[in-house]
């Protein structure tokens, strides 16, 4: 493994894989609960959350970002419910009112404040900047054992590792509650599973995963890694544990293939400039979903006659 690879490519590659896996795991439950678009709404309101957190604290720290994004996600969910009830419209339309407005407000505040000059800019907020996560202090794999080099490691990597650990722990500990609350709310209430608390926890978890992946892939492409791997996995199996395993596999495949296509693909056409890795990861995850829609063994609803 060359020093150049460790300096320029290793961290973006790892961040891409970690982000995709972190988002794909809760994505399984978003798909099953038909809340895929809630993931859309939450990933959009991460931007105003981060911007406001920056204005309040004056810096872009991990905790400020996490808290800001979580508060924004919870606010958005409450507002969506309020608009749905007061306006008597379906939840899709209520989401459309809330997340577009919050995102627009985030962009305006960002453009008008000093946040732009420090760390954030609108275009990277939309589609991330995976390539910027270089680790110049490293000159080989042994840098992982060198405290001086580790100090220079992009903070996105340890942050994603921690969030992935939280996501995995949440799913392992609350697996039964999640499954029961997702498939049969009435039964879940009967056996004493706190249905509302489980939904709320899932929303917070999605917000945390979205903010951890935000720096790498931005507000819109993050939706691709929330939805495409689990959706493709859903067409592979009827067993939920296997579905989660498939989604993790698809997420890793999409990020590895996407990353190398973005870095090396243009060279095939004689261009030395790489293309957007985040965009390519989204594209590959979409191709995986397309293949699953066409060929997945469980692509039809149970009981659908063949040839329809």
């Amino acid at each position: 493994m060359s020093a150049e690879f460790v300096q320029l490519s290793l961290v973006p590659l790892l961040v891409g894989i970690l982000a995709a896996v972190t988002c794909a795991i809760p994505g399984n439950f978003l798909i099953l609960r038909r809340q895929a678009l809630l993931g859309d709404a939450i990933s959009h309101v991460v931007l105003p959350g981060i911007v406001v957190a920056f204005l309040v604290t004056g810096q872009v720290t991990t905790w400020a970002m996490l808290i800001g994004a979580t508060v924004a996600a919870v606010t958005a969910v409450l507002l969506i419910e309020a608009v749905r009830r007061l306006g008597r419209v379906d939840s899709g339309a209520a989401m459309g009112v809330v997340f577009t407005t919050m995102f627009a407000a985030g962009v305006i505040i960002l453009e008008q404040s000093s946040a732009r000059s420090v760390h954030l800019d609108v275009e990277h907020a939309l589609y991330g900047n995976l390539e910027s996560l270089v680790w110049l202090a490293a000159d080989g794999l042994h840098a992982f054992a060198d405290p001086a080099a580790l100090a220079d490691l992009p903070p996105a990597l340890p942050r994603l590792l921690a969030v992935l650990a939280v996501v995995v722990a949440f799913h392992v500990i609350f697996w039964r509650a999640l499954v029961v609350a997702t498939f049969d709310e009435g039964f879940a209430r009967m056996v004493g599973v706190p249905v509302r608390a489980t939904s709320a926890a899932l929303i917070v978890l999605v917000a945390v995963a979205a903010v951890a992946a935000f720096e790498a892939v931005g507000a819109i492409i993050v939706l691709a890694i929330f939805i495409c791997p689990p959706a493709a996995a859903r067409l592979m199996t009827d067993d939920l544990k296997r579905q989660v395993a498939w989604s993790v596999l698809f997420a890793m495949l999409a990020s590895v293939i996407g990353f190398f296509l973005a870095a090396e693909g243009p060279a095939i056409f004689g261009s030395e400039n790489a293309v957007s890795a985040a965009g390519m990861i989204a594209t590959v995850s979409g191709l995986i979903l397309g293949a699953a829609v066409l060929f997945g063994p469980r692509r039809q609803r149970a009981g659908t006659p063949s040839g329809v």
Partner: protein, 404 residues
Amino acid sequence: MSWDVLFAALTLTAGYNAAVVAVGAALLGASAAGIGTFVLLRKRALVSDAVSHATLPGIGLAFIVMTAFGGDGRSLAGLMAGAAVTAALGLLAVDAITRRSRLSEDAAIGAVLSVFFGAGIVLLTIIQTMSAGRQAGLSSFLLGSTAGMLFSEAVLITVASAAGVVALYALRRPMILVGFDPSYAAAAGYNVRRIDLAMLLLALVITVIGLKVVGLVLIVALMIIPPVAARFWTDRADRMVLIAAGLGALAGFVGTAVSASAHQLPTGPVVVVTAFVLFCLSLLAAPQRGLLASTLRFRAFEARVHERQGLLAIARGEAVYDRFTLAVLRRRGLVRPDGVPTLIGRGAAAAALRDEARWEAYRRLEPGSPLLGRYDGLTPIETILAADQIAELDRRLALRVAAP
């Protein structure tokens, strides 16, 4: 923000070019909100979000193709044509995923939206590195920009938006029918699938027209927020379309003016926030369903209940302690400030007690009567029963009082 520039933009005196842009944005807002109303009635508001994000790869491809053939890659008409092609592919992809697999529509929308957007970003980064790439301008399609818009572009947007309004008018009847009752529409001989398709295609065309002004990330807001706001003002679909179109036009017009008058403000977010302000005003001030109106209605109802209960207490000779009840009675001149009933108050109390007694008698006389459902402790029985029925009730009451 410069107030002079804002005032000039709002009064269409900021120059011919700016005036055409403002009129175009207003027409765009009207047509987007109009088609958005039909899409909202069909409960498919966020399908347009997938469509609008799916325009990005088309913009990139159109630029690459036009540059490859030696033309100007930034020709708005060419970019719009490319955008329409991939937007249609996105629409077909949503349809194909929901029909060919067991995934639900929301998963299909999310997948198409983000994957097409990602592919578009890949194309934008390719364009950035192309030697011919004067790519400046393409990223303005993300969040919209009217700054430096060419006169010919403004005219194109204005004319196309006006055509969108005409198409909406022509298709309004079948779309309303399908929006309310698809099975009746099918029974009446309409092809529901085709009407749905026409509706989404019209939404697609209006999305493409609005790309330059509002941007693809947020144009869906112009199709959702004004119709949801209009829902507060009316329960009739035809009026809802008109009100939504009016609100959309206002949002487009004011939003472009504000964004033109401030430095570094992309047009799309400003238009969306303007639309949201109109939404909040509707939520508060709409005559029937607004928060203000329903709060006032609730307070009036509360006061009527307290007045009635207070009067009944007076008639039975009980003391009234509840402060709100006393305040209501005092305000209506039914009790004196010291709590003693006035002459009018005693009359009203007797009337309330008699009304309760009559209802009670009627309940005993005709236990199965559906009219008993109208009893709510507030409605006077005179408004429900005829005079001779009440006379009969009074006769029975008198007998009961007379009997030992």
